[in-house]
Amino acid sequence: MTSLFQEVSPGAAEDTPTRQITVTVNGESRTAVVEPRLVLAHLLRQAFHLTGTHTGCDTSNCGACTVLFDGTPVKSCTMFAVQADGHEVMTVEGLAGPSELHAIQEGFKEEHGLQCGFCTPGMMMASKALLEENPNPTEDEIRWALSGNLCRCTGYQNIVKAVMWAAKKLEDQ
């Protein structure tokens, strides 16, 4: 597929060492042959075309690339793809099917929890982990859990409201 999202050539040069890895991504087992230096965020975006995972800072600061790794939120720009071999990864695409919204996504829509939307996938994945551990968080607990995710539109107020909305919806379900 040649597309806007194809940032680099997927094929490695002939003399570059490669590893074959198998990762369960959003419940589906996927195999790729990658250079050992490829980071997980780029595996997801370039090899698997899951472009919902954003790379913002590339240095573990911004959290836009947050995915769930074996259920725990991690910054996928700071892990190598080969480290995910044999593990489970969940990206924002795994929250709900193409024609549905997860309660968290619905919350961000209802409470206008985004402006430009760049940080949103990371915010949602960090929120997912929070709500699984703590289904009824306080505002302070939400701010604490999302403190590794930066929003440069500074829409934090509505992001917090969106997570509270989602918590309530999940509780009602």
Binding site: P73, V74, Q83
Partner: protein
């Protein structure tokens, strides 16, 4: 290190799949042992640290940010040898050690001797640190860690770790570690020494705070002037120690 272009290794060995290194535990003698794969998040949620090691317990939630804490480790932080790292000053204040293992076997290295300079350690190229140890306290441990950062996850402008052990109110051992105010973590030994042998008083705290500030070697940068950072070292040292007196009064 790689992303910041400080290092370009030809080969990396991932230790994440090595079993048996993700523990933290207390030994019968009261020493606390942290394995190389014990994450910051494990320490943040640790009931063991909450009840037995207050300096470590207060530092754990301030390391990096909540997501980074899921992957990062105390041992990794020590070996990274960042002068602004949190754990190094905590472990220095505890007179902590690391256990390094290589083909020749294991050896212990005091944390204060682990770091040669920014991002440089005294580890041999074929050694890894498998465990960090906070030695058994000489009495009841008390202490804390305070850090100023511009936002969550930023490098520390200033970090101060204070750890004291007390027996019958008298301080039997004291350590003070400083982050972010020098080319490597600083052990403010003179400041810690004035606390030993007596109960904490406003006078001894004032003297320790002033000696801590003198031990700091801050530089002016975009996070603050050298004099501001030196002042913060004094404020944080005072605040942690005064908090311990208050805790004592509340308990009495």
């Amino acid at each position: 290190m790689i992303k910041l272009r400080f290092a370009s290794p030809e080969m990396l060995v991932d230790i994440n799949e090595i079993p048996g290194l993700d523990y933290h535990r207390i030994d019968p003698d009261g020493s606390i042992h942290v394995g190389a794969l014990c994450r910051h998040a494990d320490l943040e949620r640790s009931s063991l640290l909450a009840s037995r090691q207050p300096t470590m317990a207060s530092a754990a939630p301030l390391v990096a940010d909540p997501i980074v804490r899921n992957r990062g480790t105390l041992v990794g932080s020590l070996c990274h040898a960042d002068p602004q790292g949190d754990w190094a000053s905590v472990m220095v204040s505890l007179d902590g050690l690391v256990v390094a293992e290589g083909p020749g076997g294991k050896r212990s290295i005091p944390v204060k001797d682990l770091v040669r300079g920014p991002f440089q350690t005294t580890l041999a190229y074929d050694e890894i640190v498998v465990e960090a140890i906070a030695p058994a306290p000489k009495g009841t441990p008390a202490g804390g860690y305070l850090k100023l950062e511009r936002r969550v996850g930023d490098y520390a402008t200033v970090g101060v770790a204070v750890s004291i052990d007390r027996d019958g109110g008298k301080v039997t051992r004291a350590g003070i570690g400083l982050s972010g105010v020098g080319g490597s973590t600083i052990s403010a030994e003179d400041a810690a020494q004035v606390l030993v042998g007596e109960s904490l008083t406003a006078e001894s705290i004032g003297e320790a705070a002033s000696l801590s500030a003198q031990a700091a070697q801050p530089r002016s940068d975009h996070r603050g002037s050298a004099s501001y950072k030196r002042h913060l070292v004094s404020v944080f040292t005072t605040r942690i120690l005064t908090g311990l007196i208050r805790l004592e009064e509340e308990a009495a």
